[in-house]
């Protein structure tokens, strides 16, 4: 199916870009709606979901070494129920991929190219991602390895440039209404932390599997660190106005002005968003294609990449008429869908497998 191997470091970079690229732009705004000035606490609660997901994934891959997720489903839940669960996952992954492409396209349309037809943006990105997916996991790993430093250092350069504009008093009062608002605010970011679930698809292709857990943990900490820093910066700059802003981090970067020369940094953020979204879309696209291949026991996933691309383009339009609906979706459906698919069902599978293990040793 996939002959390439990646290192754990590459996996970490893939996951960081997959999660951070979209999170940094939209999540602070939604979190602030619930958590107010405590929004920087929410990622810390949300990261618990991340740690739990990583733990589940690691345990599952340890119990079933070199098995695909779909094989794990079949081993634990039986052939028919396992296949059904696999089908649900394939649909879920395809749906999420479509949604990511759509939110990327909406961002580009809103802030960048308001007169360009959305299909052009969606299709161009899908074609680019499809080529990368056909290149395989190794290519995705290498591309992430190049984009990661660009992404990471650019974010921190912007943060350093913003230092003169920070107003630390916006932080107060901390936990004005207790812990509850920040917990509520964590409901959205936990979707992103739950995406660490994707490691289960990448894990069999690691060349150094013993380091997988270590780099997984480091990645979660890095994501957490970036998340908290970004939320704090946004808070220090925009104060209580975050809640109404669609892309708070983008708005914050507009405040960069050093010596009337270094200003208008927003194109940089947009460029980073395109880079990050590309990795995210590619990873989800890849996992979907690989998943379908594994679910159907195909020998190669490459022939289904292009047909799947057409489906993904379609999925990005179905049921999502406009940005308002997407945002509503993000707040009402996705937190629960994400938690269910990325954390709870794997937890259930882990539970079944450990019960089975106690009853009789698993034959693989």
């Amino acid at each position: 199916m996939e002959k390439g191997k990646i290192s754990s470091l590459q996996m970490g970079m893939i996951m960081y870009l997959t999660i951070m690229s979209t999170a940094i732009l939209t999540v602070p705004g939604i979190t602030a709606k619930y958590a107010k000035q405590d929004l920087w606490l929410s990622p810390i609660w949300a990261s618990l979901v991340g740690f739990m997901t990583l733990f589940i994934v690691m345990r599952l891959s340890k119990n079933y070494p070199q098995q695909s997720f779909f094989q794990i489903c079949e081993h634990t839940a039986g052939l028919y129920i396992g296949k059904l669960v696999g089908f649900i996952y394939v649909c879920f992954l395809a749906y999420v991929t479509g949604q990511i492409i759509r939110s990327y396209a909406d961002f580009i349309l809103t802030v960048y190219l308001p007169q360009t037809p959305i299909s052009v943006i969606v299709i161009s990105m899908t074609v680019l991602a499809a080529f990368t997916v056909i290149g395989g996991l190794e290519v995705i790993g290498r591309v992430s390895q190049i984009f990661f430093p660009i992404f990471f250092f650019s974010i921190f350069i912007i943060i350093i440039l913003l230092i003169p504009k920070l107003n630390l008093s916006y932080l107060l009062p901390i936990m004005e209404d207790g812990i509850l608002p920040s917990l509520k605010g964590a409901i959205i970011p936990q979707i992103w932390f739950g995406e660490f679930f994707l490691i289960i698809f990448l894990f069999p292709f690691l060349s150094d599997q013993s380091k997988g857990r270590k780099w997984g943990m480091i990645t979660i900490f890095m994501v957490l660190f970036t998340f908290v820093t970004a939320n704090l910066i946004v808070l220090f700059i925009l104060g209580q106005n975050i809640a109404g802003t669609l892309y708070p981090f983008l708005k914050a970067t507009l405040f960069v002005n050093i010596g009337d020369f270094i200003e208008n940094m927003d194109p940089l953020i947009i460029a980073l968003w395109i880079l990050g979204s590309f990795v995210k879309i590619t990873v989800f696209y890849y996992v979907t294609a690989l998943g379908i291949g594994q679910w159907l026991n195909l020998t190669d996933y490459k022939p289904i990449v292009w047909p799947l691309g057409i489906l993904i383009v379609q999925l990005s339009f179905w049921s999502l008429p406009n940005l308002m609906v997407i945002n509503h979706h993000d707040e009402t459906v996705n937190p629960f869908l994400g938690l269910l698919m990325q954390t709870l069902i794997p937890l259930l599978l882990l539970g079944i497998s450990s019960i089975k293990k106690k009853v009789k040793p698993v034959k693989i």
């Binding site: 190219l113 680019l128 190049i146 194109p267 460029a271």
Partner: protein, 519 residues
Amino acid sequence: MVRRVKSLLRRRKGIQPQIDSLDDHGSLSNKMDENIDYFRSVYANCSDVVIRPFLIGGMYQAYFIYIDGLANVEETDEQILQPLMNATVKNTNEIMNMLENKIPVTNIQKFTSLSKCIDSISTGNPLLLSDGINTGYSFCLAKWEKRGIGEPSAEVGIKGPREGFTETINVSTSQLRRIIKSPSLKMQELFIGQLTKTKIVISYIEGIANHNLIEEVHNRLERIKIDGILESGYIEELIEDNPYSPFPQILSTERPDVVCSNLLEGRVAILVDGTPFVIVVPTTFFSLLQSHEDYYQRFLVSTAVRWLRYLFLVISLLLPSLYVAILTFHHEMVPTALLLSVAASREAVPFPALVEALMMEVTFEALREAGIRLPKQVGAAVSIVGALVIGQAAVQAGLVSAPMVIVVAITGIASFMIPRYAMGIGFRILRFPIIFLAGALGLLGVMMGIIAIIVHLSTIRSFGVPYLSPLAPLKGTELKDTLIRSPWWKLNTRPHLTGDYNKHRQSPGLKPDPTKGGE
């Protein structure tokens, strides 16, 4: 009907272009007349082939066959013809004895097969056939006019050796041998090309180059079935990993020092007779951005120059497209004062930025391409046309804006910064699709172009080595010779190519220090 289609298909498959082979000829016979008739028929209508009959010791009929201009006639007369004609011999055994022991020529080869004899004549060695002996004696007395060793014109530098390879392969191999004197420098020869029979030498250092790599090079070279190899570019295109890529996956150089430094890092060099350009495999993106001088200058300077090069690489690829994208879609990004001055100069220009950029870039590429092939006498005319007519006059006529001319000029200079010409061409070609993307989608298009290029670079390999290594896949220890040029006393390990093989290049702790002088 079905059968017919099938047979058609089969016939299609069966057709394979057969190159006329001269290989199978049998061996020399005892009878002189048969042999000489054969050579006469083979060399019919070859006015440059001389077949000279004479008598050995006044008794035995013998023939000399050589190619006029390729054989050293004076030496042949003096060292071979004279002693043979004056000799007194009684039987054929004595002739053989004499040929082997009494002829003062260093290298004498004996051939019994006709094709070997023909090969030897073709390389310029005179062949002696004698009555009653079914062996051809080939004397290594080839001598032809060749170019002397000169300065490599395509790779000049301030510091470093000034000699380059020449077209003659044994001069090139001797240049390598003069630098690396160890017997572990190996040279394996093979001949490619049914008609040209071009000599190819695979050179590597035993114990440093990976065995699998050498084997792979052999396999790929032996696959080649072609009528002629005229330049190493033929070989390059026939053995590279990704034929459709715009980027060269093979280093082509005419400097012996560059080849040797690559050999010392475990790479394999392929020398081709008839061209001064030697190809080196495997090679990576970053090694194509390094110049030989990086290693001869002080390391701080080299690091700074490397960074300048990386910056200008990006400029040469992106500057025109960024200009187009910003002027077409994103005016707000430019500081107001700058925008006003650019807008003022563009006021009279009747074309959109995309057309303007394409026009100027294509013209510039044409100028450059014309400049390469110009006879020296008309060179001045082109530079006048380029500088005055296209630069000054086009701006004054209001066809092109002055900022655009500046952008094109900077791009042009930037593309000269890339030390390898083949690499520069790759980026020159890729500039145009990105200009189109910028004109269509603005900065989004530019980003798409960049992503596509990086994805492509991540996909390709050169002889099994990922093209973007050591950056992706990351090899931390090798970044010391990629992002920066570490001082020599830090470059302790060889770059890791296809396998871990003889890792250490020097002893650690070579950092100079006055206290280490033993005082």
